[in-house]
């Protein structure tokens, strides 16, 4: 076994190239606030520009095929990029683009040639930002129960309804959405996915007032929106994967959303917490010297290590083409629920300091206060903690002789 990436000389040369490029191209003044909703429009534009620049080099989606604008690089190169970007607290893409990450991968599996040629290059080159539109007021955990309707009319589909918990701040250029194309059809046999350009008439975007929008770290998510569809007309050629075949497409989309991608990153919040605990004083000495606080810090460390190892294992499994089963949702479930426990531990460790982002007293650049809220909100997106256990149970074959297979990935 080998728990570390090993690099060839060629890859180390690549690292130097990436490092130099990033040094020249990442703006010095790029703000990375704890609550991504605080990202200004100016900063957002800088993130977008950086994304396009990365896209041009094939580094935005490094392992995507070159024929569709991706980088065509190996996983080892992707790791190098990931590690170097992490030095700037950046990820790929450097802005919220969940429809790009999941939609792009889904189109690669389910789109026809024409669609791949039309839709993938703009995504992989960072020219468009794509939001995913899944949840509806009456379809949360039960995604297969979406009710937004798409009705064929000539060469178009006409979409009506509402999606919630969408996107982030500052808009997007297109949406990747699942609709119901046969209200009377059998469950899982009546859904279809579309790419919807954001400028299509009939779309209204309204921000939601939430405890906090983000969750689970990663690229900033900004605020969330409700999007209303009022006779939104989309060409039939934007239907991906065929009419009423949407649940098949969803399995690819969801497989990735449910944590099967893995990660080689560790949770930076843990280091911030440790530093805070070494700095904050109680009864005149650093609280990190208090044995009870140490117990709590170790609890946090242990769970963060387990999270890290689950992410690492999934990263390896995915890239070594191992057959995935329960591992994706396990990682997601563990991260969500240990996040909640970590929030509680931080509250105990730091006392009320965990709850304030007051600039005079908070020594974490708001990260602790934000986490107190985001660890709650992070329980739900991409499938609630409960839904992860539902999927794990099916993949493990608990109570059933046949194990459910993981969704198809490219």
């Amino acid at each position: 076994m080998d728990f570390e990436p090993r690099y060839t000389e060629e890859q180390q040369t690549f690292r130097t190239e990436v490092r130099d490029w990033l040094k020249d191209n990442v703006p010095d003044d790029l703000a990375n606030p704890a609550d991504s909703a605080d990202t200004t429009y100016d900063d957002y534009l800088q993130y977008r520009a950086l994304g396009r620049d990365l896209g041009e080099k094939g580094w935005l989606w490094p392992t995507a095929p070159t024929e569709y604008g991706g980088g065509g690089l190996t996983i080892d190169h992707a790791i190098v990029l990931d590690e170097e970007l992490d030095e700037y607290s950046l990820s790929l893409p450097p802005y919220y683009d969940s429809g790009g990450r999941l939609g792009g991968a889904s189109i690669l599996v389910w789109g026809d040639d024409d669609q791949k040629e039309r839709f993938l290059p703009p995504i992989f080159k960072g020219e468009v930002r794509t939001w995913q539109l899944l949840t509806e007021p009456n379809a949360g955990s039960d995604l297969a129960g979406v009710q937004i309707s798409a009705v064929r009319d000539g060469d178009d589909y006409v979409i009506n309804g509402q999606k919630i918990f969408v996107g982030s701040s500052h808009g997007a250029e297109q949406y990747w959405t699942i609709t119901c194309t046969d209200p009377d059809g059998d469950r899982h046999q009546n859904l279809s996915w579309f790419i919807v350009p954001a400028e299509t008439p009939g779309l209204t975007v309204v921000p939601m007032d939430l405890l906090i929008a983000g969750g689970e770290g990663g690229a900033g998510t900004g605020h969330k929106n409700t999007i209303f569809f009022d006779n939104v007309r989309v060409p039939a050629s934007n239907l991906i994967g065929g009419e009423n075949n949407g649940w098949q497409v969803a399995t690819t989309h969801l497989e990735l959303e449910h944590g099967s991608g893995g990660t080689i990153r560790r949770n930076r919040l843990v280091d911030r917490l440790f530093d805070y605990a070494r700095e904050l004083k109680r009864d005149g000495q650093p609280i990190s010297k208090d044995p009870e606080v140490q117990e709590l810090l170790v609890d946090v460390f242990v769970e963060a290590e387990i999270s890290r190892l689950f992410g690492l294992r999934n990263y390896w499994m995915r890239h070594a083409h191992q057959k995935l089963a329960h591992e994706g949702p396990q990682s997601s479930y563990y991260r969500k629920t240990s996040g909640l426990r970590m929030g509680e531990a931080i509250l105990k460790i730091l006392g009320p300091y965990a709850l304030t982002d007051d600039p005079k007293w908070d020594k974490s650049d708001s990260h602790m206060e934000v986490f107190q809220r985001s660890s709650i909100v992070a329980l739900h997106p991409g499938g609630t903690a409960e839904i992860q256990k539902v999927i794990m149970s099916r993949r493990l074959g608990i109570g059933r002789q046949v194990r459910e297979q993981a969704g198809r990935l490219a």
Binding site: G140, I164, D283, G351, P352, Y353, L355, W361, L379, K389
Partner: protein, 376 residues
């Protein structure tokens, strides 16, 4: 043995519940959340009129001299809102502190005004080196010819911004023990500032060479710790009752949601995982309720000399605070997306459960005290 409320208490409960429905509905509370004080003048006046601020003030000082259990019954309903504003700070903790620590003259000076809501007291005890133990107070008061000069910072002071009187804990030179000073919030040099974050109406108070007269000392200099502990003993179970009420409200809304939210063709409450969250909530709620009311019973039946009363109070505080916190977390798991939408109302409780988590000692603090009272 009789674990039911008295008729009188049932009446208090109904009245309080009606008041809350009428005057402090969810929409009103969501508006109040955006204010600096957590209350409106109108609401404050109405609550004063029905006697909520004078319940623990003895009749001779203009209050109703109710039992702690009586007050707890009302605070439980307030917690169900959760009703914000300095009710507990002034009407319970402030009043009890003055009653326990003040001279007869000070009681007469402050309690009648507090009882009718004309003055608002808040306890400014905690400091940047945060804690609730006897060593937590280090801010100094320098004696002058006719009084003291106070300088320093009090941090995480509940309802600091709305207080007219800040009961300020200091070390007065020449006295080893703690001293409480009655500091008018308008005294030159006193400034309060609300802290932002996932907490409500908790502030910083700075004292910049604040001059107070000698009679600002509550009781005798250097001797406030013991009476303050007595005030804490009585105040804590009422704060617990407030958290019980909050947990009950969180349980009620979650139970209702489990019946009306349909996913996969069924009310979500038919799924065992959802049930388990709700079962956990009611276990926390019931544990909180009965530990709280047993502590109140011990206090009201004058078991103050009984060592068990202290353990009971610590137990109640640890259990209710953990319970309210976990009840909110469980409710969020059941509600998923809708629960984090602010206008739904759950987050009022989530934030309140965090706001109160460390107030008067967090669960760890009270568990450590239990290790002492249990004599390990």
């Amino acid at each position: 043995m009789d674990l039911s409320l008295t008729e009188q208490q049932e009446l208090l409960k109904t009245t309080a519940r009606d008041f809350m429905e009428r005057e402090a509905s969810k929409d009103i509370l969501l508006e109040l959340e955006e204010t600096e004080s957590g209350y409106s003048d109108e609401l404050w006046q109405k609550a004063s009129d029905i006697g909520w601020l004078g319940m623990l003030v003895p009749e001779q000082y203009g209050g109703s001299g109710s039992s702690l259990t009586d007050a707890a019954v009302v605070y439980e309903q307030m917690g169900a809102g959760p009703l914000s504003g300095p009710f507990f700070s002034s009407g319970v903790l402030g009043a009890l502190t003055i009653l326990e620590a003040g001279t007869e003259g000070q009681r007469q000076r402050y309690l009648p005004s507090i009882a009718v809501g004309r003055e608002i007291a808040a306890l400014a005890l905690t400091e940047p080196d945060y804690g609730w133990g006897p060593d937590s107070v280090s801010m100094r008061a320098q004696p002058t010819d006719n009084g003291y000069v106070l300088s320093g910072t009090k941090l995480f002071v509940h309802d600091a911004a709305s207080a007219t009187t800040l009961i300020t804990a200091v070390r007065a030179r020449g006295h080893e023990g703690m001293t409480l000073m009655m500091v008018d919030a308008n005294t030159p040099g006193v400034s309060t500032r609300l802290l932002s974050g996932f907490m409500g109406w908790v502030g910083e108070v700075t004292y910049d060479s604040v001059e107070v007269s000698a009679d600002a000392v509550l009781g005798e200099p250097g001797s406030a710790w013991q009476p303050l502990q007595r005030a804490f003993q009585k105040a804590i179970p009422i704060l617990c009752a407030y958290q019980v009420g909050g947990s009950q409200a969180v349980f009620d809304m979650t139970l209702e949601y489990s019946r009306t939210r349909i996913q996969f063709g069924n009310p979500i409450g038919r799924f065992q995982r959802v049930q388990d969250h709700i079962v956990n909530i009611i276990n926390h709620l019931d544990a909180a309720r009965w530990t709280t009311y047993e502590a109140l019973w011990k206090l009201d039946s004058d078991r103050l000399t009984d060592n068990g009363v202290e353990t009971s109070i610590h137990l109640a505080k640890a259990v209710t605070t953990e319970g309210y916190y976990q009840a909110c977390n469980g409710a969020h798991e059941v509600h998923a997306g809708i629960g984090v939408m602010k206008d739904y109302g759950l987050t009022l409780h989530t934030q309140m459960s965090r706001t109160l988590y460390h107030y008067l000692g967090d669960p760890r603090f009270h568990r450590k005290r239990m290790a002492e009272t249990l004599d390990f």
